[in-house]
Amino acid sequence: MGDPFDLAAGWLQEHLLIPALYQFGLMNWEDVSYGWALFALYGAAQVAVTFAVCLPLEHWRPVEHWPDSKAVLVDVLYTLLSRVGILPFVTYVLFYRAQVSVTGWMTDQGWVPPTLEGLFPALLGQQVLTFVLYAIILDFADYVRHWLAHQFRWWWALHSLHHAQRQMTFWSDDRNHVLDDLIAFVWFGVIALLIGVPPLQFPLLVLLLRFLESLSHANVRLSFGWLGDRLLISPRFHRAHHGVLGAGDRSCNYGSVLPWWDMLFDTADFSRDYVPTGDPSGEEALATGTWGQQQMAGLRRFTRAFRRSHVPHGV
């Protein structure tokens, strides 16, 4: 019996995607379509698992109660677009082609692109351990990227869309400006070139990491305890990052999954307790607009960051 995700993706490929590609003369996309089917299925599983675990948690011990949750709906759209829809497809196509092309060019120049397995040959065949090491390195890279997003005015203008949500829930993890997503994509593309991130070899572990990221945004009074909060990022820890006093360049707790980097670089704050979230310096559309209104508002703030000598940068 094979991997159920692989078999489900295979079924989609054989019965829906290939007939459509053949019909429309697009059979040169058949490898890509299988990759997308896998990404989309794992993404759907991420959403389903996150929903099944986080929703009861948010009902059990919510931090905040809201008269209505309309503002959350757009975050649901962000999540579906990011994990099941077009973004995984673009990522797969662009990332894969670019990585092969650039690393191939490096090999031609006599410089074999580095990989962890190349540095430590004993890791070959130790797939889970290799992934864990890659995950730790990537988590650090994300910490640095996230910290930088809070330091530069133009970058914060984009990233503030993520912070604008006053009704933060587990759906909020993927609410990002498309340009912010694009920067993150390039950022990780460069990191991948430096350490050779393996594509789609460990999807279940990726699923677990993405779940933890979603959980950290949940509207729930949940801490992992004194020690646990210092091993993995809890909703309590990450909520402090989204607090109204944490917007902009005076924020704290920048980590995604591991709080180690915040502790190491003295940006951790374990004292803030379930603070209100949002970014008072941003226009209202960033918080409560439709997807399109939020994107436009982010773009306006982005362009203003270049025009003015001073724009609100946090509170």
């Binding site: 019996m1 094979g2 991997d3 692989d6 078999l7 993706a9 295979g10 079924w11 490929q13 054989e14 290939i18 007939p19 590609l21 053949y22 003369g25 697009l26 059979m27 040169n28 058949e30 299988y34 896998l38 894969y96 082609r97 990585q99 092969v100 092309s101 690393t103 191939g104 060019w105 490096m106 090999t107 031609d108 074999v112 692109p113 990989t115 397995e117 540095l119 430590f120 040959p121 004993a122 890791l123 070959l124 065949g125 130790q126 797939q127 351990l129 050779g196 393996p198 594509p199 789609l200 070899q201």
Partner: protein, 322 residues
Amino acid sequence: MRRLFLLLSLCFATPGFTTQAWAGGIAFVINSGGASISVIDMATQKEVRRIPTLREPHHLILSPDGRSLLVGDTAGNQMMFLDPNTGEVQQRVPVTDPYQLAFSPNGKFLTVNGLARNQVDVYDAASMKLVKRFPVVATPSHLAYAPDSSTVFVSLQDSDKLAAFDLRTMTPKWTVPVGKTPAGVLWLNGKVLVADMGTDYLAVVDPETGKVLEHVQTGKGAHNLFLSPDRKILWVNNRAGGTTVSLDSTTLKPIRSYAIPGGPDDMDFAPNGNIWITRRWAEKVAVLDPATGSFETIDVGRSPHGLFLNPKGPSPTVVSSR
């Protein structure tokens, strides 16, 4: 840092390979999506070991001396050399984007298609030194040689063309349209056959001029084609139709169609007459009995692609169908 390196090396030493040869022969199946190679005992039809690769292997070929099985790892930019009798890794060589690969019939050249990098590389087979790189448009997929090793023919999947390269002068000969999304290429009876995956036919091409002489209908998504060891039957895997079709290799008239669901791709021939076929989207290999039309399945890894059967150790009778 050095301490960390030593610690990791000691803690996670690679498990030793068993160097036994399987009496009933062994099969190698490349799991492109799983970054591994399944080693299968042909007698029991069970996977006995999985060899890790770096990133994304696709195709493999036996060296002319039969001592090495070369596995191209595209995203890993690496060529793995395996012992074809045991699966033991002999060496790993940096090679850019090795997708489809084949030795020339005279054993002099190894041609490697770089599908993602749009290049056709010709290596000196003995030294693995790059002799010539042909930039192409676009996505060089499969390849075949003229029997006298004078020319290599390469399908260019994204531009619907077939290209011919003269290996005596190391110059391009011609590039011509042959049909939608060409994939598998095979030299047969003085002609070049190309499986057009965007159609339901093979294009029969004049090797001198590149002119398409006729179309031979096989099934939706004609993807790859192989000649039986006795050279009497042409086998074609149809990707979209989920079928494997046999044709008379002389007349190109269809003989029989077999349902092989799950994206049939590469193929090899066992001494007992059975045909092994990788099924890309089913994590399985089909072992087809062409007499009855029934097939058994062997579980392998994600996206099984290249396939090689070694029925009895380092025998010169091993047929490489790629």
